[in-house]
Symmetry: C2
Subunit: 356 residues, 2 copies
Amino acid sequence: MWKNTRFTDLVGVEHPLMLAPMAGPGTAALAIAVSEAGGLGGLPCAMLTPEQVEREFNLIINKTKKPINFNFFCHLPNVISEEADRQWRQRLAPYFAEYGLDPAAPSTAPSRNPFGEEMCRLMEAIRPKVVSFHFGLPDAALVARLKQAGCRILSSATTVAEARWLEARGADAIIAQGYEAGGHRGMFLSDDLATQVGTFSLVPQVADAVSVPVIAAGGIADGRGFAAALVLGASAVSVGTAYLFTPEAKVVAPYRAALAKAGETPTAITNIMTGRPARGLVNRFIRDVGPLSPDAPAFPHAAGAVAQVRAAAEAAGSGDFTASWAGQSAALARPTGAAELTRDLVRNCRSIMGVD
Amino acid sequence: MWKNTRFTDLVGVEHPLMLAPMAGPGTAALAIAVSEAGGLGGLPCAMLTPEQVEREFNLIINKTKKPINFNFFCHLPNVISEEADRQWRQRLAPYFAEYGLDPAAPSTAPSRNPFGEEMCRLMEAIRPKVVSFHFGLPDAALVARLKQAGCRILSSATTVAEARWLEARGADAIIAQGYEAGGHRGMFLSDDLATQVGTFSLVPQVADAVSVPVIAAGGIADGRGFAAALVLGASAVSVGTAYLFTPEAKVVAPYRAALAKAGETPTAITNIMTGRPARGLVNRFIRDVGPLSPDAPAFPHAAGAVAQVRAAAEAAGSGDFTASWAGQSAALARPTGAAELTRDLVRNCRSIMGVD
């Protein structure tokens, strides 16, 4: 068995591996497959309404009794000014024109609401084994209610300071999210991208700084990465991008095509898709307008105008405006089933570590 | 003994660990200590004249018969325009004024000349076991002469494409330099910092892409990092920053003071010290003007004007303008002797890997 059982004991799973929540591609089927294979599956709820979360929960509970993680964003809500929205749409005007779209049409982008009262009541009813957060933690009263309901609380840290902050506010484990990670940076105490830290440096420093278990995230896509993260001091790993290559992930065709070419396409951290920095495969939009633009309105409002162009582009078979979130190890991944991937990661890690 | 002996066999050392060449802090004493302890010590020659290199070589050969690496830069020489120099000095004018300096005074910055004919002749006379490069490789004819002289050729790659390029041009081993690494980025096929890759992602992908041994660099400062790099597929590690904490390194007082506070100070990649991106501890100058400035003249010319302010600041006990190069794991390092550090890294790595 595993030498370090701090994470597996904490959340009640067989293997020290969690599915990184990926709002959009993450599905109930993916969560079920990972949890049934002995990892910690999870449902990304950031872009779902409470009704949708409840529906997904019912799908999951029908198929597995294993622990599941429900993941939420907990950013401070921003209001977009008319001026900022106008400027952003003006910046994107050539693309609206290219696809014959009305830049004044209302956006159909899915909401990205922070965790609040309604979701908390739902979690108190569902009582999942794990609730995890990105961008810090919600109000202390909400955290206390989740703990009272028996939920283990996880959140992401991108620096040692963020890890200490989370531990002090009750996180039961810290996800150390290295620079390599795909998707949104969990950063919340600083917005300085220049000082974000690679997985190799972040994991041992966070492990030294906190007394709760550390979960390494960022760049882990095969057994080597799994084993190396444990060697660095992690009690578990969080794997996201590799699961995008499974049929259980809901990945639109242009996104899947971009992933298949990950070996030839770099990733970059960009703020132009949503307003917050997130790592994805570089495409035309990122090359033209990003990767970082001061014109992008605050999260999540940049996404509104982009979603309109993206939908038209995707309908035309183009991924030019698709947020193809991926980590820097995307090229190490291969298409396979989610259960098989979980078993492969475990088997290859154990083989490298010489564990039976 | 070590399971993977590809690097140790290639260069004839006991342990799969090389001292990262650090132009400035690197000394003959440091090289000797690491090589005598069974690693691959090295002399950074980028800021030395051929006469100085020969003098250091004589110091080294008197103290050790073990393999030594001689490291050079091989950038394409740039000429600075009067206009660019004038603009840069204007940008720095407040600092010249602060220290009562004449911005028109000629710079006393040490030269950073690329490897050329004279150094090649010296290497042919010295015949070191290893010659390594940063920023690519010199002309094929020079590489061929070094190989003819029996030197193993190493160079740094920051992407898979650079690793393939180096292997195709005769590199006998590739240093995979991750984003975490201190000092100058070795990047030479691209100047796009946004797509630079963390050690965790870079090492396995380079190991998969080339058939020569891979040396992991960036974020390795203790036995955990050493072991994790080998698990990721490296045949050896390159350790730099941790050796800055040894008395054998020539580290000016403000730099040493900054290193001692590495736990509270982030690092960033900056181009304002020399004109090329390099990672160092953030200080006043980087906060004010950087970390990245389009005003910085091309490498190495930015260094001229900065050196004048830096010298005056250091004389006044300030590290505000000191290039305190350091990697993202600097806070993991502790003051100790270079031989002891080498032995500790080896012992802790072997203990973690369960090797006797």
